[in-house]
Symmetry: C2
Subunit: 241 residues, 2 copies
């Protein structure tokens, strides 16, 4: 209806191609690659079933195209550092990383589908996961690892860095992976922008306190005491077998 005056803003071919990518992003993000059907994608794109074959070749090729397309947009909208300079304090960079992660997870606009696609790859991997790990996840892991290493201070054990990084990032991934459960357990829970900021606050302070304690514990064995006022010695509970 709206396209009467300018029947070809772009070539009609490019339009359907774009519509397929966007509909594909939506469907793949919602139900995953395996459960997504070409018919549903074409229906949402307003295109014929054969359009996927004509424009991309097959479903796999469309999926790769969708992944590549949203990779660029997601990184553009939510860079890892969210505008915080790399020489900013590690605490600030951690908070920026976590906010970026959460915003990506809870963003329901089309720009955020990439994060959901990747989360789905983690659980039901396709052949595209190997490339995703190298191109997207490894850089994120190194980025976070750098922050954690600085927070731990000194020359921390690589395994400690890894464990702490996992502990941090897992708190974000939880809200994406387990949304069906969370919404059933706490139906009243809404994820408004303010709630997301509270969530980022919580995860940031939760993680900072924990990492500080890891740092302290790790150093106890080697050095006298880090330059802190007076930390109450953290007890390490052990289940009495």
């Amino acid at each position: 209806m709206a396209a009467v005056t300018e029947p070809k803003l772009d070539t009609s071919s490019a339009q359907t191609r774009q519509a397929l990518i966007e509909a594909g992003g939506a469907v793949f993000a919602e139900v995953g690659f395996h459960n997504a059907t070409v018919r549903e994608i074409c229906r949402r794109a307003g295109a014929n079933i054969a359009a996927v074959h004509y424009h991309f070749g097959d479903k796999d090729a469309l999926y790769r195209e969708v992944l590549a397309y949203y990779q660029g947009r997601a990184l553009q909208k939510y860079p890892l550092d969210l505008g915080v300079r790399p020489d900013a304090p590690a605490q600030e960079r951690l908070r920026a990383f976590l906010r970026s992660f959460l915003l990506r997870i809870f963003d329901h606009s089309s720009d955020a589908w990439h994060g959901k696609l990747i989360s789905r790859e983690m659980i039901d991997p396709t052949s595209a996961l190997d490339a995703i790990v190298v191109e997207r996840i490894r850089p994120q892991a190194q980025h976070l690892g750098g922050i954690v290493r600085e927070l731990l201070g000194g020359d921390p054990n690589p395994e400690t860095v890894r464990l702490c990084s996992f502990s941090v990032v897992s708190q974000c991934l939880f809200y994406h992976h387990c949304q069906p459960v969370v919404s059933r357990l706490f139906p009243e829970q809404k994820f408004s922008p303010e709630q997301i900021e509270k969530l980022a606050d919580h995860i940031t302070s939760f993680s900072l306190a924990a990492i500080k304690s890891c740092s302290r514990r790790g150093k106890e064995a080697e050095r006298p005491v880090p330059p802190k006022k007076s930390a109450s010695s953290p007890r390490r509970p052990r289940a009495s077998r």
Copy 2:
């Protein structure tokens, strides 16, 4: 071959029924309900394709049966408290809860399939999820919530309890949901029993330190200061937008 002397230890019908449940547990746990095929389950059970229909009715009914069967076994092998008394210190109970959770996740014996089945339900829910939330997840959430509430001390904000519980449990779920990624990022990482204990140690101390800090922060606003030596005021970083 071994069953020559006693061709019917049980009725042969009950045997195939049991074989189907166990094969179903394996296949459902490996690839999820949607991707599991009746043919593969029957092949592993050494049964005919029609056996599922004959003994259970359809694939959905078999799935529910599998879920119910392993529910009992998993709770028996890995109770929430792992033998730690409910009047034990909260720190000890937290560690028991986390060890139980991790052991369930990394246990590759058939007793542990239930945990994997539930984890899969979280991500790709079937109609069975509602019952699972009520029967399994809610009790776990309440169990953990009780521990966290005690660790926070006083009369903590329910939202704080929820956020901390999520932060704790997410660190365990991560290792189940993201194993494909973890194994690609760190191929050398193995999850031996000793590694799992180290992991439980890490998550326990990480969480304990973080919860303590939450407790401190939450009380600052209302009461003078909790009975602690002298806590260095935790700064809350904010990204300077």
